[in-house]
Symmetry: C2
Subunit: 377 residues, 2 copies
Amino acid sequence: MSRAFGFSVKAQDGMARTGEIATPRGTIRTPAFMPVGTAATVKAMHPAAVKALGADVVLANTYHLMLRPGAERIAELGGLHRFMQWPHPILTDSGGFQVMSLSKLRKLDETGVTFQSHLDGARHLLTPERAVEVQSLLGSDIQMQFDECVRLPAPDAEVERAMRLSLRWAERSKKAFGAKPGHALFGIVQGGASPVLRIESAKALTQMEFEGTAIGGLAVGEPQPVMLAMIETVIPHIPEQKPRYLMGVGAPDDLIEAVARGLDMFDCVMPTRAGRHGLVYTRHGRLNLRNARHAQDPAPIDPQARGAAARAFSRAYLHHLVKSGEILGMMLLTEINLSYYQELMSDMRDAIAAGRFADFTAETKAEWARGEHAATT
Amino acid sequence: MSRAFGFSVKAQDGMARTGEIATPRGTIRTPAFMPVGTAATVKAMHPAAVKALGADVVLANTYHLMLRPGAERIAELGGLHRFMQWPHPILTDSGGFQVMSLSKLRKLDETGVTFQSHLDGARHLLTPERAVEVQSLLGSDIQMQFDECVRLPAPDAEVERAMRLSLRWAERSKKAFGAKPGHALFGIVQGGASPVLRIESAKALTQMEFEGTAIGGLAVGEPQPVMLAMIETVIPHIPEQKPRYLMGVGAPDDLIEAVARGLDMFDCVMPTRAGRHGLVYTRHGRLNLRNARHAQDPAPIDPQARGAAARAFSRAYLHHLVKSGEILGMMLLTEINLSYYQELMSDMRDAIAAGRFADFTAETKAEWARGEHAATT
């Protein structure tokens, strides 16, 4: 394994590319989907199973972990990898997004954000320097700069103000991070749905020479075409030889479209959250296991799936578990979803390497469109 | 694997004995602990993991499954083994206990019990014949006769009436069961805390020649000495060459004391329920992971445990998961508890085979008594 952080593109097909991010904790095959391990656990999944399904890296949330059990606590216990028994790479966000969406009584100024914990009301201060410190205490392999996420819709002036503040915080984040061999800090492109602001943000971050570039503030409710247009706007202005990470995305279709436009990394709660609410993603689209039509169906979710859970258990059994509120239902559906997501990423990597990403996209979308009936009859 | 149901004692040490129950679905090593799989799932456990921890057989609940998803439904889907992906032996209770503790508007007469489902209020009738039919539809390997469980404390006359009714229901259960090669039906000794009634019940059931004998109506809140006295009263009056099953028991100490008195089979929700409530059973007694003293403790639950979960994860991490209400906390604690229970059963079998069950009992109790501090310092 590499002692340094690095990225190499192995093959390119149109704008889509496949490669490897090297870290001392292991290699991340790209395009990569990172399961979300909010509170130091990918919900309802044993960490060994997350790896077995094909994940090379998980995401953990700075905001949640700094509040409970605390970053200093995790550091004393040997860091987040040991704490959660995940010896592979971990990417951490900076807390910027969640401090805005979850905390109470926020007060934002140039320094940072003062807020009250949503758990116990305790007061905390998050600054670019503290966000880097927390991520370093956790032992994160890939850190994110501290940024301000504006709730959309917002006036243009507000989006612009937050984007500029995020650039100043990017500089402070980079200075605080310093040199950490084997570890990386990514900048985050902001600017809402404004091409002008997005380009300004992208150019300024590129000059700061982060180890990778994230695109933030998308997949927050806007239509997919807006998201894709923003990606196309940003990509020419961020480094080609460094990883590109689309934060918080997405549905399977979003992943394919973003990979087609040159993105390398993704995270999303969708597969895990859906699995706890009776929904599964498959080659034939999305199924709601709560639906009574599954109650007597002996068919598995997908007899051709690579993951065992999608092949072994009947839809009738999964329906029963979901209706009964059984924990095993959440476990199996989460497993099925994460397995499908990793299968999709693996297939995308293979298709890019084989120079047939456009064909793969067309085939995959056709299978989604054929849907359930083709699958079961 | 045997095509017939059978039981053989391999070694005896005092009254304690170790042996094997042969079934077409596999061998059950005794003394055996059966994890409870109420609604066709051992809660928070993947079925393959239940087997990997050492369970040869699980218990499923007739009452729950007849109400949801329904016995006929499970039969159409190929039976309970296929439904829950547990190809090994399954023991089912008869519904008698839960119809009394969970259902609404019960009406009991000589025929059986009419009741309303606690789920949707639908009316159902459970009789000895229907209880056998339901268990046969499920495909149960070891069925229980339908019996009446009296809520204790109860007047002697009430206990006596219910015991006699249960004997008549035992005959009807046996007749309904008929001959099912490779499958077994067990009678259930009732009679509360009355030695006279217990002996009458035991003798009458012995004459009916069931494939095994269960002792019911214990571990319902009475002090352990009362339970052990009833066991000692019953054992001389039930067949020695057939399995003896103590229903709904128990804590680790109950298991050792019952094995010492000749019991072969046990089931209890304790390890699984405790695991969902922050409690773990270990060689050094019981721990409450909610306790703040675990918050900074890097030690695992037990570095010498045979189960991986008790060795891999720190108490601090498990405390964090429990405090955060994370599903993984319930999964890991359930795994730790079931692993400990199976380890205890395995050690008891080895100790009996080696003729050192008394020493093993003394050593095990001494370890429990030394407790936590000896374990962590």
